[in-house]
């Protein structure tokens, strides 16, 4: 492993470390009510793996890796789409309640 390679690796690790620090700092003390939505929100974010899946799909020449990347893309997309939609549904519940119960609220709740 050459010094140049090691330096690139180190740069990647620096970015990794900083991202971890952001992740730690970004979660302040959350009300228990928000735990599940927050978990679900974070869950959607790692759907970013779709980017990786697309990139390997673009390179896939072997049938084997074509199959693998197909599954990967499908999995990742499910993570992304489902994740964001379900999180949004959870969060609809936290809309600032109107002082007088608006029927709209009930409809939304029913819809969900």
């Amino acid at each position: 492993m050459t010094a140049a390679q090691l330096n690139d690796l180190l740069t990647a690790l620096t970015i990794f470390t900083l991202a971890i620090l952001v992740g730690i700092a970004v979660i302040s003390k959350v009300p228990a009510t928000l735990h599940t939505p927050l978990m679900s929100g974070a869950n959607s974010i790692h759907g970013i793996v779709l980017v990786g899946a697309m990139l390997i799909a673009a390179e896939a020449t072997e049938p084997a890796s074509q199959l693998l990347s197909l599954v990967a893309v499908a999995f990742a997309t499910m993570n992304v789409v489902g994740g964001y939609v379900v999180t949004d549904r959870m969060l609809q519940m936290f809309r600032k309640k109107p002082t007088a119960p608006k029927p709209a609220t009930d409809d939304a709740a029913a819809a969900s």
Partner: protein
Amino acid sequence: MTTLEIVEILVRIAWLVGAVGFVIGLSRMNSPATARNGNLLSAGGMAIAIAATAILILVRQASGTPVAGVAWVIIVLGVAVGGGLGLYTARTVKMTAMPQLVSLFNAVGGGAAALIAIDDYLGLAAGSSVRIDTHIFIVLDIIIGSITFTGSIIASGKLQGLIPGKPIYVPGGQLVTLALAAITVIAALALFVSGTPNLLLMVVILAAALTFGVTMTLPIGGADMPVVISLLNSFTGTAVAMAGFVINNPVLIIAGALVGASGAILTKLMADAMNRSVLNIMIGGFGGGDDAAGAVAGAGGSVRAIGPDDVAIQLAYAQHVIVVPGYGLAVAQAQHAVRELAELLEDRGVDVKYAIHPVAGRMPGHMNVLLAEANVPYPQLMEMDDINPEFARADVALVIGANDVTNPAARRPGSPVSGMPILDVDQAKSIVVIKRSMGKGYAGIDNELYTNEKTGMLFADAKEGLASLIAAVKAV
């Protein structure tokens, strides 16, 4: 610079923008007011990152970089299928079933991360020498991704009830789990040392990790599943970051590390809320067999059944009534009925409050969500610590489909709920419990509250029971 080079730069910038979107979005999800907007922001970042990637692939094709012809078929097909499934399930799932769905989404995310590493590994020419760091990242990605994949599926199954919620002990399961861990580590080390691709070893690792995910999760009680899911969510983040190292892609590294870290913090917060320690939960998973034992404690004692009319009288002439909603209220969808009853009582000058236990129901904040949906005024929803002192002053505690969160056994060691903070319902002057039977709750143990001589049991479905109560109160 060639067009391709320029585009590559622009795409990297777009990815960075996406990552920033994730961070801002996540931070806005810390408070109810901004949460929804935060989620949309994060989704926007995701859209940018994905669109940029698509463009990148297009330009690469245009500039003649060999791209498999089927690439777009794969991508479009995959997106269509995955997206369709995700959208449909997310749209149609019942609110109470959301946690297990999130767990499923988490599973496929981890799976995708593992697949990327596998694909990359297959690409390595046999006999070629593999850099140690490459090897490490690939192996870590496969191991973590696989554990998340199977682990999350099991967790989801437990919450869905497809797999019994209570701890399942494979004979010698603990040993199996440890053995699997050992195998994985040894195989991995062997790979690193050899420094050349070795499919067999990799298959061993893959199989071991997948099984490990199962045996790790099976013995954990369903009540702990939210914490487990959150932990596995953090795992997936880490796996994605590893995938980022494997295919050397910054946005995967950043977003993955972000989720890995924030997920870990969140897991700790959740465990604290159920006052369990994460380690405790997972170790418990590794064979805390004694759990089920204490269940029997405090059973026996006679039960006093009571009718709607008697309850109505008690409520109507009470000064302070505390409603204790639980999972049963949610299943029965009785949130609107309970609000109606409460309003009825308030018109009669009774002071009504709701005691919200942080883990009542099946997901954190379940009760808040439910009652908010029924437009119960916020001020009436009291968190556990605020309401507990008031039970002593309450004339009637009306327990509706709640069980574990009221079980005094939690104050004693040796029961599955031991140590879980509970609502001090048994302090109330009089207690009325609405549930269908003497059926057990989530933790699957008897509740001595029901045999307390202050307690009257109104056996009914929550919704019907409340309906009859409303009628009776009106009649008073």
